[in-house]
Amino acid sequence: MEMKRNTTKLLWLLMFSDIVLFSYEKSLREQAIELMQDARLIDGHNDLVLRLRIFYQNRLSAVNLRELNKTHTNLAKLQAGFVGAQFWSVYVLCSAQNKDAVRLTLEQIDVVKRMCNSYKELEFVTTSQGISDSRRIACLIGIEGGHSIDSSLATLRMYYDLGVRYMSLTHSCNTPWSESSSKGMHNFYPNVNGLTAFGQEVVKEMNRLGMLVDLSHTSDMTAKAALSISKAPVIFSHSSAFSICNHSRNVPNDILQKLKKNKGIIMVTFNADVLACGRKVVNVSTLADHFDHIKKIAGSESIGIGGDYDGVERFPEGLEDVSKYPSLIEELLRRGWNETELKGVLRENFLRVFREVENVRNLSKLMDVGESETLQEVQNSCRLDLRNHQPQKVRSFGFSSVTQPLSLTFVTVSHLILYYES
């Protein structure tokens, strides 16, 4: 009799716990969605625009961005993922360095603008206020790799004028002035360590302009140099934690600590290869481990999200495309992250950083415009050397002396003199 009662109790207990567990899981998911509806994601890095070039040669008429299914990203998925703002990367390949990187970058910027003007779901913005105010998916632009400026501060300024709001100092190649974290992928400027003097000028000019300094893809030396020079908070638009997976794209603890002091942000990335260091199983939990670690070292206020969708091939199970962000938030909720921390991760931390960068710009009004050059390091056959330039037509300046028109009086007087003397 007693056993029967105990079994019944046990059965009830099991049923009850099932119900509780079931409603507990459902409610986390719901919580995640409610949170994200309220605080839509600002994602730091997406390479859809590169895909548009590769697949469609930037012909927007050939593609419907709402339903596109060849890519991780389309507009329907972004909406399902509660993405409120996206930095579109205007990456051009490192192999264009010293060739037509500038032209290619301008073309990528052009396609972002056309894209964002063509769909009512999208809206091009350039300020923190613009992101806050937008009821659509706010579009911003990030340059991925200093090779895009071809060592020209003027070009950097023009990119800012076109709406670019961050630049990753390197991609996977060194520039004449900054060192990449990638070794051996390219042969450019192998002797550059960290930031050269000109590289420091670039960071200063970015501060003056109000362009976010992005340290993803840079070497540790470059990151440390930038963190010590920059007067504004900096970002890692798409990097994860070196302690969890010691990939050169990830950020070690000492730099995370400097980032915390700098009040910057690391927008954790979802590239499976940098999350799991070769482990076979890579899922939401693997990614969440990076979040937990960085929170421990640098505080949740230093964290954001930079998926790198359409920029890499492998993503964790459960995070295959841009509609899946809520799964990450759900996992973090499960791990005890609270609403404030999560809203920070989703958008508030980034907005704080962006506002401070804008503030530094406003305070820099009296700073001199950057006019330095780096001539020696960059001589190559694709550059015209104007110092020894002989123009094709004679355009050289030869200013003859100004001839004074003879005054009427002088003529008259001389006539008079001559007349009377004759």
Binding site: R103, R114, S118, L209, C382, L384, Q392, F397, F399, H415
Partner: protein, 404 residues
């Protein structure tokens, strides 16, 4: 001796009474006070690059004091220059090399010039901006790209230049592009590649019409002139070219083309360079006035403008040595019985008319969901005005015609 005294008396009278020349000069100043000149082409940015590597912060680059260029701020003021298209020329040698970047650097130096001297220059991007600059007594500053090689055959780059404030593009400088022939084809110095514009060249021109960028035909071959004048839906300009009839230099505009200029409502902004004015290395102010008279005769006064080419050439006529001398030229035209109306047209109103028409054509083409060539049909809604990038543009304040 009575004869001699009469002469002396006559001479004395001439001394005492104001001369006709002086009267014209005063009249010219009066007219130009309310209608300053909008000049089509000045290469000061090139001088800034050659002399100072665009380092405007250098003391020797002070535009108030600079004294060995044709252009500086005091001279612009005394010349009553109210509007100037600054050329962002980069040499043809940069074609297929770093032309795009160098052009960006020249655009940047113009922007910075406006930021450094905000009391003098107002960088503007439309015809309304020019009028506003006139009101506030500043030099309306616009940008012209000089040579299609600057876009490296990329419509994306062309659109970018428009976004950065470029408002005309000279289709070629003195070299063929992969899509347009230049004037050296007409001298036989270079082979014709396209006999005017290639198919892509026509696409470029159509995109310029859609954007609202003025097509400039200085430096192009005659076939290119005719092709452009035939295709363009908006009036075009010659930012710095003179009359072939008076000086048979292939940089000049032949009469048959002048007639097309007239029928399209286009504009020839007369160049002052001696070689194009007299076909010799010397010239005088009256020779330039002859060109203006000729264009007026063949194409009508609505087709005449001023495109001095200051700081882009080495030999200028006696009387027109630098940018302070425009009033002297206007005085000469007054002596040739140009009316005040006609002078105002040539000084500024013609350019403003052309620019407005170019803007209208652009607005119409955008709102009709016109197919955007090269990157195909993004069907546009009404072209909205995007006060783009004003945060970074300081004194710029241009209207970016929406969805470029």
């Amino acid at each position: 001796m009575p004869g001699r005294s009469v002469v002396v008396l006559a001479l004395a009278l001439r001394l005492l009474l104001p001369s006709a020349g002086q009267q014209h000069r005063e009249e010219a100043e009066r007219i130009m006070t309310t209608t300053p000149v909008i000049d089509g082409h000045n290469d000061l940015p090139w001088q800034l690059l050659k002399r100072f590597n665009n380092q405007l912060g250098l003391p020797e680059a002070n535009l108030l004091l600079l004294n060995d260029t044709h252009t500086n701020i005091p001279k612009l003021r005394s010349g009553h220059v109210g509007g100037q298209f600054w050329s962002v020329y980069v040499p043809c040698d940069t074609q297929n090399k770093d032309a795009v970047k160098r052009t960006l650097e020249q655009i940047d130096v113009v922007h910075r010039m406006c930021e450094l001297y905000p009391d003098t220059f107002a960088c503007v991007g439309d015809s309304d901006g020019i009028r506003q600059a006139f009101q506030s007594n500043k030099v309306a500053s616009l940008i012209g790209v000089e040579g299609g090689h600057s876009i490296d055959s990329s419509l994306g780059v062309l659109r970018t230049f428009y976004r950065l404030g470029v408002r005309y593009m000279t289709l070629t400088h003195s070299c063929n592009t992969p899509w347009a022939d230049n004037w050296l084809v007409d001298t036989g110095d270079e082979p014709a590649l396209h006999h005017g514009l290639s198919s892509f060249g026509k696409t470029v021109l159509e995109e310029m019409n859609r954007l609202g960028m003025i097509v400039d035909l200085a430096h192009v071959s005659v076939e290119t002139m005719k092709a452009a004048l035939n295709i363009s839906k908006a009036p075009v300009i010659f930012s710095h070219s003179s009359a072939y009839s008076l000086c048979q230099h292939r940089r000049n505009v032949p009469d048959e083309v002048l007639r097309m200029v007239a029928s399209t409502g286009s504009l020839v902004m007369v160049n002052f360079y001696n070689e194009y004015v007299t076909c010799r290395d010397t010239a005088t102010l009256t020779d330039v006035a002859d060109h203006m008279d000729h264009v007026k005769k063949v194409a009508g006064v609505q087709s005449v403008g001023f495109g001095g080419d200051y700081d882009g050439v080495s030999r200028l006529p006696t009387g027109l040595e630098d940018v302070s001398t425009y009033p002297a030229l206007v005085a000469e035209l007054l002596a040739r019985n140009w009316t005040e109306e006609e002078l105002k047209a040539a000084l500024a109103e013609n350019l403003i008319r052309v620019f407005k028409k170019v803007e209208e054509v652009s607005t119409a083409r955008r709102s009709w969901g016109h197919i955007q060539h090269g990157d195909m049909g993004t069907h546009r809604a009404q072209g909205h005005i995007e006060h783009g990038n004003t945060q970074s543009m300081g004194t710029w304040g241009h209207i970016e015609h929406g969805d470029t």
